[in-house]
Amino acid sequence: MPSAYYLVLSFVLFLIGTAGVLLRRNALIVLMGIELQINGGNLALLAFARQLGDQKGHVFAFLVIALAAAEAAVGLAILVGLFRSRQTINLDEATLMKR
């Protein structure tokens, strides 16, 4: 089972996640796209770990999951704050920095 398949799948996941991040207006969906990207990375990590027979990749992925948890928590908190002040989570309306 060549690792190439797993790796390409990981990049495909990453690509889908990127598309979600770039092309959606709803902030929640954007955050989910980010999660997809992270998982794509995780998959690549584990594929390489298996390829090289090294378990350090597993540990790395473990830490990545913890990190993703933290990031999701804080990101969602910010989102809630945004909602409270702007009453919207439509990112197209978050344009205060624009002239």
Binding site: T18, V21, L22, V30, L91, A94, T95, M97, K98
Partner: protein, 742 residues
């Protein structure tokens, strides 16, 4: 031998400090006692030290090293004091007359609200002046030099709420400062060429065989320039041409200040300095000639101005300038004893004259205008008596002190041999100018006397007249002491040859050891006959001046005076306006400086600094931040998109075997073609695979060589395709070139 000389300046400094900190809360009597005690104690210590110094009692100079002040590289300066006969005499004059003036001020400034501040400044001044004369090296002397300049400023502008007074203080300080620059340059030159700034060392360096001071610089030995620059400092401090203009304005200060600072002590610092540095001056007679001529010219010039002044103190101020000119003429003709002698006598009679002015102004309800005075002889007996004595002294009437000192200088200038053959006429010129100045002195001082004291009526209005009263004893006491001094002090300097007794001239005898050091060359000797002749001539001149003044002014403005004023009104006004020198300076110097400053302000300050540098920086930052801002819209997803595009581009170009826009290089020779696919390739270390298809049906040449040669069989137009592939990344580039074969 050491002696706690530091006490001498220290006591007045302590007095000043204490009074400045606490004086305001204390009673006037306490303040006065502290101040007088400080200066009085300094006087006693000076006396004690002085008697140790006199050659008869053997000592040769006391020294007191307080601490090492500067010790960097080659420069080593100690904070040290030295007393020899010269500085001893100065110390006595300063402390004694200072003490008398303190006493006088207690009465004169009795109603002054800022009583404590006044005495504090007086003490401070005395301390600084003592540092000046006791300094063992030029930097220490300079501390005192600057200190007295500061105190002069503080005291002239004592009543600073009146703008004119503050302006006078500023004028004094700034003019002094210009002179100080000369002093500093002189110091620098001295240090550079002798490596030392301590006075004894300089003196020995001056007489050393290969002295650094003889190094030629712009045609003259360095000693000349040192002498000139130091003299410039002296013209500032001692009010000679061209920097005398501050002294008349300084009369805006309280009269005791004028008496102490601008008559007896501070202004004499220049004379003292030249006497101190005599070793340098005698090396360059040409410099001494300049000093003497400037001094004599000043004496004459100021005397003329004194003819037409209407303010009591202004007359005395110009008189001071004139008498200082005498002193400089004295030291300039190598008559150091004479210069110092006149310094001492002048201190007594001029201080006396000034304090009398104070007394008279006190009586006249604060006015100093002599046009409204007159007849005060009867109303102010004590003041009149003192003024009478001092008047005779300054005119040079025999027996009184001024006679001997002035005569010494005039005789000395004719008899001097310091200038050598070429400049011998300088002495004569100086002598003649001084005699004319003496005549003038007699005239204007007598004018002053007659207008103020003679006659029966006072020309003032009734109100003022009724208030005329003699001063209280606390003021007349010092006056009397000064009068006694003005009478008797002349006897310390009796001409040596008068009764054929070499030690006749006490002062010269005492000063001899000091002046001998560093003086090689002709010394001044006045023969017996010359002495007698000049004594006679001086007396005649004095009486002539008094007589003329009597004719003009005895008992008031008499007919000759009025006639003269009517005939030459323009000239009178010119003299009255002090020859408009101040206006000249204003035009030549002050106005250009002001215009320049204004220009600098408008251009440099407003435009360059404020607009360009300060605002400009802001504008630049603003512009750049606007540009930077335009890039950012706060849209995070857009950032990410751009980021991704950037990464993609980066990856793309990193993995291509050749650079973008690169071409094949095809060289054609006849039917052969050389293709070089190397151009545009990346790092030569990269192993790439090439496939050449020459378009004539032959098989494709593959390999890792970037250059290929190919011969075409038939002419025609061919297209060469080259594929370059990168095995590492699996990418590929293709090129094609058309080729025409003949």
């Amino acid at each position: 031998m050491t002696f706690p000389l530091r006490l001498i300046p220290l006591l007045p400094f302590l007095g000043a400090t204490v009074l400045m900190l606490f004086g305001r809360k204390w009673a006037r009597d306490t303040v006065f006692v502290i101040a007088a005690l400080a200066i009085g104690a300094a006087c006693l210590v000076s006396l004690d030290a002085f008697f140790l110094v006199l050659p008869g009692t053997g000592a040769g100079g006391l020294s007191d090293v307080v601490m090492t002040w500067i010790a960097t590289g080659d420069l080593h300066v100690d904070l040290a004091f030295r007393m020899d006969a010269l500085s001893g005499v100065m110390c006595l004059v300063i402390t004694f007359i200072g003490f008398l003036i303190h006493v006088f001020s207690a009465g004169y400034m009795a109603e002054e609200p800022d009583y404590a501040r006044f005495f504090a400044y007086l003490n401070l001044f005395c301390g600084a002046m003592l540092v000046l004369v006791l300094g063992d090296s030029l930097p220490v002397m300079f501390i005192g030099w600057e200190g007295v300049g500061l105190c002069s400023y503080l005291l002239i502008g004592f009543w600073y709420s009146v703008t004119a007074n503050a302006d006078a203080g500023k004028k004094a300080f700034i003019t002094n400062r210009i002179g100080d620059l000369g002093f500093l340059i002189g110091m620098f030159l001295l240090f550079y060429y002798t490596g030392t700034l301590s006075v004894p060392d300089i003196t020995s360096a001056a007489v050393a065989p290969h002295s650094g001071l003889l190094t030629p610089f712009m045609g003259m030995p360095v000693a000349f320039w040192v002498a000139i620059f130091l003299f410039i400092g002296a013209t500032g401090k001692s009010a000679q041409i061209p920097l005398y203009v501050w002294l008349p304005d300084a009369m805006a200060g309280p009269t005791p200040v004028s008496a102490l600072i601008h008559a007896a002590t501070m202004v004499t610092a220049g004379v003292y300095m030249i006497a101190r540095m005599h070793a340098i001056y005698v090396m360059v007679p040409s410099a001494m000639a300049i000093v003497a001529v400037v001094g004599a010219a000043t004496a004459l010039f100021a005397a003329i101005i004194g003819f037409a002044q209407n303010d009591f103190k202004k007359v005395l101020a110009y008189s001071t300038v004139s008498q200082l000119g005498f002193m400089f003429a004295g030291v300039g003709t190598s008559n150091f004893d004479g210069g110092i002698f006149h310094l001492v006598t002048h201190a007594f009679f001029k201080a006396g004259l000034f304090l009398c002015a104070g007394s008279v102004m006190h009586a006249m309800s604060g006015s100093g205008d002599i046009r409204i005075m007159g007849g005060l002889r009867k109303k102010l007996p004590w003041t009149h008596g003192v003024f009478f004595v001092c008047w005779l002294a300054i005119c040079g009437i025999p027996i009184f002190s001024g006679f001997f000192s002035k005569d010494s200088i005039i005789a000395g200038s004719f008899a001097t041999e310091i200038y050598g053959e070429g400049l011998a006429w300088v002495g004569k010129l100086v002598g003649v100018m001084l005699m004319l100045a003496a005549l003038g002195t007699a005239f204007y001082m007598s004018r002053l006397y007659f207008l103020v004291f003679s006659g029966d009526e006072t020309r003032a209005d009734d109100h003022t007249r009724h208030h005329i009263h003699e001063s209280p004893p606390i003021m007349t006491g010092p006056l009397v002491v000064l009068a006694i001094g003005a009478t008797l002090i002349g006897f310390i300097g009796l001409p040596a040859d008068l009764w054929h007794h070499p030690e006749q001239n006490l002062l010269a005898h005492e000063l001899e050891p000091v002046l001998e050091a560093g003086w090689v060359g002709p010394h001044l000797e006045v023969s017996h006959n010359t002495e007698l002749i000049f004594m006679l001539v001086s007396t005649l001149i004095a009486f002539a001046g008094i007589g003329a003044a009597a004719a003009f002014y005895r008992g008031g403005y008499k007919e000759p005076a009025r006639a003269f004023a009517a005939k030459f009104p323009g000239f009178v006004r010119l003299v009255q306006d002090k020859f408009r020198i101040d206006e000249l300076y204003d035009f030549l110097i002050i106005r250009p400086i002001r215009a320049f400053s204004r220009g600098l302000f408008t251009f440099v300050d407003r435009i360059i600094v404020d607009k360009i540098l300060v605002e400009g920086t802001g504008v630049v930052v603003d512009v750049f931040s606007r540009i930077a801002r335009a890039v950012q819209g706060g849209d995070g997803q857009r950032y990410m998109a751009v980021f991704t595009i950037g990464v993609a581009l980066l990856v793309h170009f990193a993995t291509q075997p050749t650079l973008p826009f690169s071409k094949l290089k095809v060289t054609q020779t006849g039917r052969a073609v050389e293709v070089d696919a190397r151009r545009g390739n990346r790092a030569p270390t990269r192993a790439l695979e090439y496939a050449f298809d020459f378009g004539d049906g032959r098989p494709v040449v593959k390999g890792s060589a970037p250059e290929q040669r190919h011969d075409y069989d038939r002419p025609g137009s061919y297209t060469i395709h080259v594929k370059i592939s990168d095995p590492l990344w699996g990418t590929e580039d293709a090129f094609k070139e058309k080729v025409e074969v003949r």
